[in-house]
């Protein structure tokens, strides 16, 4: 028996409280949400009885033949899942099928595609202790039932909170993956359709000839021409076009001529098909590694002649074929084939015009390969990446055995074979897109790796750091400064240059030529742009060589088309309950008509953490969607995919009635709040009015997410997990107080610098509170963005470890740190590059970023230093061997010795001004106490943060800069007890802050004339 999985209520108890009105409270953007974990529990991972060792991503399919089955996991099954029963789990997550499965056409024989929005659900398997974010999506498959194959991607974790708190991020990330998969699938589906159409056309041709032959055999020879004429009138559109093109009326052709024509036409069509198969051929060829690229005229000519030969032979076998295939009723067969052609054409039109329609939507973001940062890393398998992609602009014809696949006869009876092996994911989705999707999934797995508390604090840090624009440039890693989702802002949107391609199928008669060329219409983004520059993005070059033709072969929809479509009721079906675990999702209609009490919330179309421009855009889209969908079921959650309005309109049969079953289910749960869900959706960007919020709250409170009652998670209304910069004040949520984040006494933070000085070391938050926020200064957009947070975590650990090692190895480390923090360039001098680089890495933590990120660090150089280098480089690894003539100190170092501190790693000496202060001693003290690199890294950051906060205050102390005014004695007093060396550090940092704030960064070198001391081990 399959038990129902637990659907978890996506709730929070204290969401929509009044914001605190305490005037002394921290500004909203700097307040810290207290630990969101339920009270009195440890924020750290509790040992659970799950059988898998770490979180993983599962892709499962609801196969129409064998039911739910797992397809793949990330990381590999053996690594992640342990003894966890994937089969059972996929059964569970797929047993709730929120997708519209194809319910059969109503009132129309035309096949149509369901463009279904993805569904996002959080499920829990309480018995196993496994929780999952499940993202349902459908892929198209010509051979599948209703042309759809339901899939789902699931993020499986043992921590419920983790999934709950990161729902928006998960949703956004998985939506991207889904979009990628679907794009690749549409491409393959179009190819498949095209192939099928070719077969159908060929079949029709054969059938027609058979019929004509029968007629001819029964008629006298003298009427051949007349009969021919009739035949021609009934010919296919493509043949007519073909003839017209040749300027030949051909109405009175001899039979032989006609035969020739037919042959040409056939060849023509197949050639087109072959051309269109280049893409698929590429894919397949790539899989087998046998792609033959031939770009010359020779190759083409050879192929052409080859094809002709092949067609001649084909022609010869034609008779036999047609003789072998005996249709019982040729006329009926012809009719059914023609109908199939119409169906397939409409399908092709739908699938190919899908991206077009999306492009017309101003909000549409075409699939962007989100791997620009990854290209920095070496691609483990570059062959698959690049061999796929022909050079843009180069006419590239790929001829493989598939490209000249002879059309096959299809019989209507064999159109649906359910015993056939279903395509696997690789066949369903274009190779390139599949790889991209998998890459993204791996990146998701990496980014969400780790304890939820860790992720939570990381997000908190990022969010808070973003507000400290006046100081955060100094020591923070840029990846901490950019909230992940916001990264997308830095990439200017680029639309494909080929805009508004519309399927040529709208204009009748449809020629074979036109439909084959439209197969290549899967628009793929050609370029990604970074920093406003268009960069050739090799990974995203489409495999279609003639995508430039798109705009040419397509034209805009006609006016009447649009008019026809208006007023047609639209229906989007979202969920169908399956089996015992019937989970009914609220529909908009049900909210309207009956009202509902179910704890349903619409998911914002974008995670709340998306920045304002996004939100605005999305909101607009929500509105338009609503006007369109008066009666449609409210979408559980939408991805970026867009409801194809024109498509739905042109195929009225695509409208489904809501199943009464669903309504019945919902009736039980409805209450009088029918409109709340709708309202909530409208305010989905987290700007819900307080009153509404309260009501929502009530809703949540009324439906606690107990495991036994299936509750449906529809939305993340919880602003508590919204780590975006706007709107939410966390201080209010005292119920969320946890051990990790003790309640901050907001008032105490405002008392001024004097108190701050006596703050204990751990309170790095105090400086956060004092740093002001809305500076004009913006981060330079081209900060090196390290996407892989997991990587950055490892990097931090490594940095911390090497720093610790440095501290242990060099007892005089504090003087070196002092040099760095007071702006004196430190040269690590050595003859071995690895050693020098290691110590440079160790000292990176203490190096303030002057100018652009990492610009101030030069890990290894052999060139003699110039004075201009000293203006930018603050930490230099210098090759002693660069000047072999002077074995001691290179001359340039001697020359500029007054500006330099030199750490000689070969002789283990340090020559620099001695530090006699106390401010930075905490940085080097823990060399014995702290063991772990990460711990030290974070500790060092907190110490440095404290120093930075004092420097920030110093920057804004009038009295210190204007000796004449004696008004602010307290501020002076607060600094006068500092040692001169400490003042130097603060002055230097303060100077950097001032320069940054005034946007005026003349390259200057501050120095002081102080004697150096040589420290020796």
């Amino acid at each position: 028996m399959i038990g129902s999985p637990d659907l978890l209520a996506f709730t929070a108890e204290t969401d929509f409280r009044e914001p605190p009105t305490d005037p002394l409270a921290l500004p909203e953007e700097l307040s810290i949400p207290l630990c969101p974990h339920s009270s009195n529990s440890s924020p750290w991972t509790r040992t659970s009885r799950v059988k898998f060792s770490k979180d993983f991503i599962l892709i499962a399919e609801f196969s129409e033949q064998v039911g739910p089955q797992p397809l793949l996991t990330i990381p590999d099954e053996t690594k992640a899942c342990g003894s966890f029963d994937l089969n059972h789990f996929s059964l569970r997550i797929m047993s709730v099928d929120y997708q519209t499965s194809f319910a059969g056409p109503l009132g129309s024989s035309n096949a149509k595609l369901n463009f279904v929005e993805d569904a996002k659900v959080v499920l829990g398997e309480s018995r196993e202790g496994a929780y999952a974010y499940v993202h349902h999506l459908t892929l198209y498959d010509l051979e599948a039932r209703g042309f759809v194959r339901p899939f789902c991607m699931a993020y499986v974790s043992s921590q419920e909170e983790k999934i709950m708190h990161h729902f928006p991020q998960l949703s956004a990330e998985f939506s991207k993956v889904s979009e990628c998969l679907k794009t690749g699938n549409r491409k393959n589906f179009a190819n498949e359709l095209d192939k099928k159409l070719g077969d159908l056309e060929y079949t029709r041709l054969i059938l027609l000839r058979e019929i004509r032959r029968e007629q001819l055999s029964s008629e006298p020879v003298s009427e051949i021409s007349g009969g021919g004429e009739e035949m021609v009138n009934g010919r296919f559109a493509w043949q007519r076009v073909n003839e017209d093109k040749k300027g030949n009326s051909s109405l009175s052709q001899t039979r032989e001529e006609e035969k020739l024509k037919e042959k040409e036409g056939c060849e023509f069509s197949v050639e087109e098909v072959g051309k269109s198969k280049d893409m698929s051929g590429l894919d397949k060829g790539n899989e087998s590694g046998s792609v033959v690229l031939s770009t010359g005229a020779d190759g083409g000519g050879n192929n052409r002649s080859k094809r002709k030969e092949r067609f001649e032979s084909l022609k010869e076998t034609e008779e036999g074929q047609s003789a072998r295939l005996r249709w019982p009723d040729k006329a009926a067969e012809l009719a059914s084939v023609e109908k199939a052609i119409q169906e397939h054409r409409s399908l092709l039109k739908q699938v190919t015009s899908y991206p077009t329609r999306k492009l017309r939507d101003p909000e549409f973001l075409p699939y962007e390969p989100d791997d620009a940062p990854h290209t920095l890393e070496p691609d483990p398998n570059p062959y698959t990446q690049h061999s796929l992609i022909p050079e843009p602009g180069v006419e590239c014809s790929v001829f493989t055995h598939t490209s000249s696949r002879p059309p096959q006869l299809v019989s209507s009876s064999s159109c649906r074979r359910f015993d056939k092996r279903l395509k696997n994911l690789e066949e369903l989705c274009d190779e390139y897109f599949l790889q991209q999707a998998l890459k993204q999934l791996r990146s998701i797995e990496k980014n969400f790796r780790g304890d939820s508390s860790y992720l939570f604090t990381r997000q908190l840090t990022q969010k808070l750091l973003q507000h400290l624009k006046s100081t955060n440039f100094l020591f923070e890693e840029p990846c901490d400064l950019v909230v992940e989702t916001e990264q997308q802002l830095h990439k200017p949107e680029v639309r494909p240059s080929l805009l508004l391609p519309v399927s040529p199928l709208q204009s009748e008669p449809v020629s074979l030529e036109s439909y084959t060329s439209c197969v290549e219409m899967v628009p793929i983004k050609l370029q990604v742009s970074m920093n406003g520059q268009f960069l050739a993005e090799p990974n995203s070059v489409p495999s279609s060589p003639c995508c430039d033709d798109l705009a040419l072969v397509t034209d805009a929809p006609t006016e009447c088309d649009c008019q026809d479509r208006e007023g047609v009721p639209i229906q989007m079906k979202d969920s169908i309950s399956s089996g015992e675990s019937i989970e009914v999702l609220g529909t908009e209609k049900s909210f309207r008509t009956q009202g509902t009490h179910i704890s349903i919330e619409t998911v914002p179309l974008r995670p709340l953490s998306f920045p304002a421009p996004f939100l605005e855009g999305r909101k607009r889209r929500v509105a338009t969607q609503r006007t369109n969908s008066e009666d449609s079921i409210e979408v559980l959650s939408t991805t970026d995919s867009i409801i194809p309005d024109d498509l739905r309109a042109s195929y009225p049969s695509a409208i489904h009635e809501e199943t009464s079953e669903c309504e019945g289910e919902e009736k039980d749960r409805t209450s009088g709040q029918e409109d709340k869900g709708v309202e909530g959706c409208r305010c989905s960007s987290g700007e819900a009015a307080p009153a509404e919020g309260e009501e929502k709250c009530n809703n949540f409170l009324r439906t606690p997410g107990t495991p036994d009652t299936p509750t449906i998670v529809l939305t993340p209304p919880d602003p508590c997990i919204d780590f975006a910069l706007n709107n939410v004040n966390y201080l209010d949520s005292h119920t969320m107080a946890g051990p990790l984040f003790p309640m901050v006494d907001a008032g105490s933070l405002q008392e001024g610098p004097l108190q701050l000085l006596r703050d204990d070391l751990s309170d790095c938050t105090s400086y956060l509170s004092l740093a002001s926020t809305a500076s004009e200064f913006t981060l330079s957009p081209d900060l090196h963005w390290e996407k892989s947070v997991g990587g950055s975590r490892r990097k931090r650990a490594r940095l911390g470890r090497t720093a610790l090692r440095f501290l242990r190895q060099f007892p005089f480390a504090v003087h070196a740190v002092y040099s760095l923090l007071s702006g004196r360039t430190l040269v690590v001098l050595g003859s071995e590059e690895t050693v020098v680089r290691r110590w440079v890495t160790a000292l990176t933590i203490y190096t303030p970023h002057v100018g652009k990120y990492r610009e101030s660090i030069q890990p290894w150089t052999s060139d003699p230093l110039q004075i201009t280098d000293l203006l930018t480089w603050k930490l230099i690894g210098f090759n002693r061997m660069a000047s072999p003539t002077s074995p001691g100190m290179p001359p340039c170092l001697v020359r500029y010795s007054r500006y330099l501190s030199v750490l000689d790693v070969d002789q283990r000496t340090l020559r620099c001004p001695a530090y006699r202060g106390s401010l930075i001693c905490p940085l080097v003290e823990p060399r014995t106490q702290i063991v772990h690199g990460t711990t030290y890294y974070l500790y060092a950051q907190s110490v440095i943060s404290k120093i930075v906060s004092r420097a920030f205050l110093l920057t804004f102390c009038h009295s210190l800069h204007l000796p004449s005014s004696q008004s602010e004695v307290s501020a002076e007093r607060c600094y006068c007890d500092l040692h001169d060396d400490d003042m130097k550090i603060l002055n230097f940092l303060s100077e950097l802050i001032a320069l940054q704030l005034t946007d005026n960064t003349p390259r200057i070198l501050r120095f002081s004339y102080t004697a150096s001391t040589v420290f020796k081990l």
Binding site: T773, A774, Q866, I867, T868, R895, H961, T998, N1000, L1005
Partner: protein, 454 residues
């Protein structure tokens, strides 16, 4: 006999230690206020000339033929002028009144035998006037602001009006050119031509302006390297072999004669014998600077300070730099600044000597023994210094290290800083870090005020 110097000096036991201590000043320089530097990049070749335009603007010129105008306060490059195809040999600023407002132009002379005058105001559209058909390239320029003409000296002396019209010129000297000029009272001009000083009379009273050489002063034994006007009554010239002569500005008589000779071995042999053994440039007077009373001479790699009023030697230091001193300056606060081929700028202070030592036997002027030109202060022999009342010592109080080539020249902007130019194509603006920091802080507060908070 003019060969004999005014005084002879013995040794002072403390001078060696002084010297070494002073030159190895180390990194603690409490009196050195230049604690911030800014690099001004723009030239492509040796930068040789700096001319201060006003209290914040500076023009630089060099072998790349370019003239760049800088804002010293911000380090911003204001104007870029490319009027010459070859290296610039002389540059001066020229302030004139036009339309009631003072205008400052820059006059440059180049080896391509052109003269260019351009406005240094970036807002006035860089009007450039060029004269290109000169007989010889000008090597020095002099502005006579009193009569509103300016002169160019090459192989002949040309007089130009404000509007760049040639007023008159002297006879052409085929073999020798004018290397320096100073203005004397009553429209007389002293020009240095090889070993002579030629006095020209500029005749303005007639209809046509005329210039005439009326006197040749041939008292220098060697080529004259430097010629300056000290005050209204005196001008000074220095020659390649170390002669420093003070002249009366009115009747052109010699007021003082100093033969600066760093003697190889103190108190021993006659200097005449040693001259040939020493490198010429050791005594060559490269540059003279004055504040109206004191004259600083850059003698080889040493410095020599002379009181032109008292006609006494004030201070001297044979090894002030590791290489030839190229430019010197007397600062307002009594400090002496010098720059050298060794790439450093040094700041000196005139300090009273401690108790004078016992008088030394008489000898010729010159005190230090052989020093390697590298300036290694090792194995310096005993020195003698004759106690002379009023003799002070030149103490190094700071040095500026930044250039990687010879520092050709510097220009001081008072408390706003100092700009040096060098053979490494760079200009460096040296500033008082404290002051700059306060200015930046003020700018920040001003910005905050404008923005109403951060």
């Amino acid at each position: 006999d003019l060969v004999t110097g005014r005084g002879t000096f013995g040794s002072n036991s403390c001078s060696q230690t002084n010297l070494i201590a002073a030159l190895c000043i180390g990194e603690e320089q409490p009196k050195n206020c230049f604690t911030e530097l800014q690099v001004l990049k723009g030239h492509f070749d040796i930068v040789r000339f700096l001319v201060q335009i006003d209290d914040f603007r500076l023009a630089s010129a060099g072998d790349d033929g370019m003239v760049l105008v800088w804002n010293v306060e911000t380090g911003e490059r204001l104007v870029e002028l490319r009027g010459h195809t070859q290296q610039i040999t002389a540059m001066t600023s020229y302030t004139f009144i036009r339309g009631g407002k003072p205008h400052t132009g820059l006059i440059t002379a180049s080896s391509d035998r052109t003269l260019v005058m351009c406005s240094s105001q970036p807002d006035t559209g860089n009007r450039v006037q060029t004269v290109s058909d000169l007989q010889s390239s000008a090597r020095c320029l002099l502005v006579l602001s009193g009569v509103d003409v300016w002169l160019s000296g090459g192989n002949e002396l040309c007089v130009w009006s404000r509007d760049f019209q040639l007023q008159c010129k002297s006879v052409h000297h085929r073999d020798a050119g004018i290397t320096a000029m100073v203005e004397l009272p009553r429209n007389y001009i002293a020009a240095a031509m090889d070993k002579e000083i030629v006095i020209f009379k500029l005749n303005l009273s007639e209809v046509e302006m005329s210039v005439l050489a009326i006197r040749h002063l041939a008292d220098h034994q060697d080529t004259i390297r430097a010629l300056i006007s000290i005050n209204d009554g005196l001008f000074a010239s220095g020659s390649h072999n170390g002669e420093l002569i003070l002249w009366d500005a009115v009747d052109w008589t010699i007021q003082a004669y100093e033969f600066i000779l760093w003697e190889e071995q103190a108190g021993d042999a006659q200097p005449e014998i040693r001259v040939g053994q020493q490198k010429q440039t050791d005594m060559s007077i490269q540059h003279l600077a004055t504040d109206g009373e004191l004259v600083v001479a850059a003698v080889g790699s040493g410095l020599y300070v002379y009181n032109a009023v008292m006609k006494t030697v004030v201070a001297y230091r044979k090894i002030a730099h590791d290489s030839d001193v190229l430019h010197t300056m007397l600062l307002d606060n009594g400090q002496v600044m010098s720059c050298s081929e060794d790439g450093s700028v040094r700041i000196w202070e005139l300090q009273d000597l401690p108790l004078p030592a016992e008088p030394a036997p008489s000898g010729f002027f010159g005190m230090f023994g052989t020093f390697g030109r590298s300036g290694k202060q090792t194995g310096a022999p005993m020195k003698k210094l004759l106690d002379i009342s009023g003799l002070r010592s030149l103490e190094l109080i700071g040095d500026l290290i930044g250039h990687s080539g010879a520092v050709q020249m510097f220009a001081s902007f008072g408390e706003k800083g100092l700009v040096t130019c060098s053979a490494d194509h760079l200009l460096i603006a040296w500033k008082d870090g404290e002051r700059e920091s306060q200015l930046r802080s003020l700018a920040l507060f001003q910005k905050l005020e404008e923005m109403q908070g951060l």
